[in-house]
Amino acid sequence: MADVHLKSVRKSYGSVLALSEINIQIPSGDFFTLLGPSGCGKTTLLRAIAGFHAHDSGEIVVNGTDIGRLPAHKRNVGMVFQDYAVFPHVSVRDNVSFGLKERKVPKAEITRRVDEILDKVQLRPFAERMPHALSGGQQQRVGLARALVVQPTLLLMDEPLSNLDAKLRVDLRRELRSVQQSMNMTTVYVTHDQEEALAMSDTVCVMYGGVIQQAAAPWEIYHRPANRFVAAFVGSNNFLPIVDGTVAGVTVPLPADVPAKGAELALRPENLAIVTGTVPDGMVGLPATVDQVAFTGREISVALHLSDGQEVQAICEPDEALLSLPHGSAAQLCFDPAKAQVFEADVTGRRLA
């Protein structure tokens, strides 16, 4: 249990700036997820916290002390690796007890604590096995147990589930989260799977180009993205340019401070409705042409283009009438202006409304 405070952490590889001015505050017991596209610096940040490489400047404050210049083995930070990194030459039990032996814990207590944690990750029956006789999911549980058993101040995980198949990933995700909650362990978790991030975290921190875009609760991230990048990366979004208060030639009610040029209207696909008759009250309708309608079971996804040629994706409730719309038919794309958001047109453009 520990609160973590990163103060202006910077790191570059030669001329490549991998992290610029990282400032984060992680309260004790938080499940904090770093989410971002490949190459945005997630691993770099995690490894700087673990001490596997030195950052150029800034402080890594854990429980009030800067651990940023301590060698990695003195930081008491637990780490779970993407490739499991289970010691292949010793048994599961010896893997898990490795850190306890390092800390000179008495033998009897080692046995007790190892048994306890193996129970928690449901590996007790496999204690005497060698790692090569375990499945990927079981190996990753060994990795988790090994990191947790020493009661680190902070747990770091770098895409721990990404080498597992989809079903196991969801199962282990739940398990991980419940173990973390039961131990109330401050955790920094790296993933580029947004669903995973939203499902598990107390706080999601979206990174891009070595810069933190937004750190907030999952609901907040999804519904009130701080900028255009977050809006585009988390969930999906249609961005339509706003020209003089109109979108595709239709006047849209907008807040007063939206500029005449250089802003975009963001519409989540699930907030769009498609009607062939009149536009419902309080909604704005954009004339569109249907390109493709695809039924995926839970929902229907519709591809359309507006009168000015822009392509738009919509996701609707399953509806047989909608599914039978022929290619090329005219429709109205409707949305509730209260649910629409406005961003500056830049990749990381500010949210205006």
Binding site: A54, P71, H73, V77, G78, Q82, H89, E102, R146
Partner: protein, 552 residues
């Protein structure tokens, strides 16, 4: 601003510093002192270019230089002529008993060349078995001594390098490429010449350069079978013994020329290879064609003939060692006289050989595992440089290394002349690259995250290395140790320069016995060497997956 500290500070930094100091003292200092002395006047110690002028003007030296280049090139060519066809047959046809052939090739490779030289004398020398047999039916054999013998020995000794490397490359060629050439209307020969050969050229040339460098560095072969034909390594040795007491200026100047030739050869090869780097994607594996009838006889005849030719020396020495002797004379019939004689006359040579080799190997095992960690895991200028520096011992002939040590560690508290320590250190530094290469290739396959996991659990870098890294790279350490043991116990050229009566080793004793005409003793000792070497090869085969690759 605080300077960024590395993640594994003190321990590996110390090891890195220690490694640099060690290489500076054991590798660069001796080479540097050889270099410096080559510019000194033998009597006055003044700076002079006279030594080099002499080498490039006097007949004696020029002949030796010429001879060295001739035997180097001819040996290399002979090795190619044997190795490439063998590789081609083995990779493209279903040859029966493949593992027998490759085992024989490896055995031929690891047995020391001077045993080859002396075995061929036993067969084709003035009083050789074949010479006498042919004489009995009235055929006069041309003499085996001289250039012809040296080239024969080198070709038969070094063809396995070329064979093993070329076979590997041939197996790696995407079959679709050859199929495509055939589809485009190429004949079988055209296909081989225009597609296959260019693709394996890098491998062939690498093997050829190794053969060349080893040929020109070899001392035992020209010394034993060369008779009047002197090469740079034999004259370096005789200059050194005649300059004993004074400054060995001419010996070291010759040494510098030898190093220069090796480096030049390597540079040329690098230049050639730089222009021919082929990306290859393996989608279509080679298949080995079945052979039958006359083709089968031809293929099997060629492969077995080549492989057996490489093994002849081993057969001859083992056979000879069991022939009864009376003093230096073979008295016909079989007996264990030769073994009795080495047991009474040369027990210390046998003991020394094993002790020195084992000490050197123990050092190599420890140092090479530390060094390979630096080379593989630490990304820094020094670790990159280390990788390159470890090529140097390959390039410095044994005679040169020994002269360097004698001229360096010869006074004060670091006087090692005549000690066993010096022999061990020379062998250590000369064979260190084998150990590093084998350990680092295993270490490259260990994921760094496994070590990081240990560090994150609170294990210090040194402890992590001992408890996690070392167990995981143990196979590499063992194979590397066996490889260095093989080369260490067979070391002749450097030991011959620095040995004293109390530090005689088996190869030295064999050499001296051959020179004295004590062929029985030489055969028995060679058998002991050959059997211990064979045992190590067997162990390497047992312990390692990619068996032959360890030897090239």
């Amino acid at each position: 601003m605080t300077l960024p500290r590395l993640s594994l500070p003190s321990f590996w930094t110390w090891i890195m510093v220690a490694a640099c100091v060690m290489l500076a003292v054991l590798l660069f200092w001796p080479i540097l002192s050889v270099f410096v002395i080559s510019f000194e006047d033998g009597d006055t110690g003044q700076f002079t270019l006279e030594n080099y002028v002499q080498i490039f003007t006097r007949r004696y030296y020029l002949t030796a230089l010429g001879n060295t280049l001739i035997v180097g090139f001819a040996g290399m060519l002979g090795a190619c002529l044997l190795g490439v066809p063998l590789a081609f047959c083995m990779s493209r046809f279903q040859v029966r008993g493949r593992s027998i052939i490759s085992t024989m090739a490896v055995l031929a490779l690891v047995s020391p060349p001077f045993i080859g030289a002396y075995a061929w004398i036993m067969l084709l020398g003035n009083n050789g078995a074949i010479t006498n047999a042919l004489e009995a039916i009235g055929i006069d054999m041309p003499s085996i001594y001289g250039m012809r013998g040296i080239i024969l020995v080198f070709a038969l000794k070094f063809f396995p390098f070329i064979y093993l490397m070329t076979e590997n490359a041939l197996n790696g060629i995407n079959k679709s490429l050859e199929d495509a050439a055939e589809n485009l209307g190429c004949t079988a020969w055209g296909r081989f010449r225009k597609v296959t050969l260019p693709l394996v050229f890098p491998a062939v040339s690498t093997g050829a350069i190794i053969s060349f460098v080893l040929s020109i560095a070899d001392f035992g072969t020209p010394a034993i079978i060369g008779r009047g034909v002197r090469t740079l390594s034999t004259i370096a040795y005789s200059q050194y013994t005649s300059e004993m007491g004074g400054k060995p200026t001419m010996a070291v100047t010759i040494s510098m020329v030898m190093i220069a030739i090796s480096m030049l050869a390597l540079l040329i090869q690098r230049r050639v290879l730089a222009k021919r780097r082929y990306a290859s994607s393996m989608t279509h594996k080679q298949v080995k064609a079945p052979v039958s009838g006359g083709k089968s006889v031809l293929v099997h005849g060629v492969t077995y003939a080549i492989a057996l030719a490489g093994m002849i020396p081993a057969f001859v020495v083992i056979w000879t060692s069991f022939i009864a002797t009376n003093g230096p004379v073979f008295s016909g019939g079989f007996g264990l006289d030769s073994y009795r004689r080495i047991w009474s006359e040369a027990p210390d040579a046998i003991a020394n050989s094993f002790i020195f080799a084992l000490c050197a190997v123990a050092l190599i095992a420890v140092v090479s595992s530390l060094l390979s960690f630096i080379v593989v895991r630490r990304e820094s200028f020094i670790s990159g440089a280390l990788d390159l520096i470890l090529m140097v011992p390959y390039l410095v002939p044994g005679v040169v290394m020994a002269i360097g040590f004698v001229t360096t560690f010869n006074s004060g508290w670091y006087n090692l002349v005549g000690t066993a320590t010096m022999i061990v250190l020379i062998v250590f530094i000369r064979r260190l690259p084998y150990g590093v290469r084998s350990t680092s290739s295993v270490l490259r396959q260990v994921k760094p995250s496994i070590e990081e996991a240990a560090i994150a659990l609170g294990s210090s870098p040194a402890k992590t290395f001992l408890k996690v890294t070392v167990p995981l790279i143990m196979p590499g350490i063992i194979v590397g140790s066996l490889m260095s043991f093989i080369t260490a116990i067979n070391e002749l050229s450097s030991t011959l320069i620095v040995y004293t009566s109390s530090t005689v080793t088996m190869p030295v004793k064999i050499y001296l016995s051959v020179v004295d005409g004590e062929f029985g003793v030489a055969a028995a000792l060679s058998t002991v060497l050959t059997v211990s070497t064979g045992l190590c090869v067997f162990l390497v085969f047992r312990l390692s997956e990619d068996r032959e690759a360890n030897f090239v």
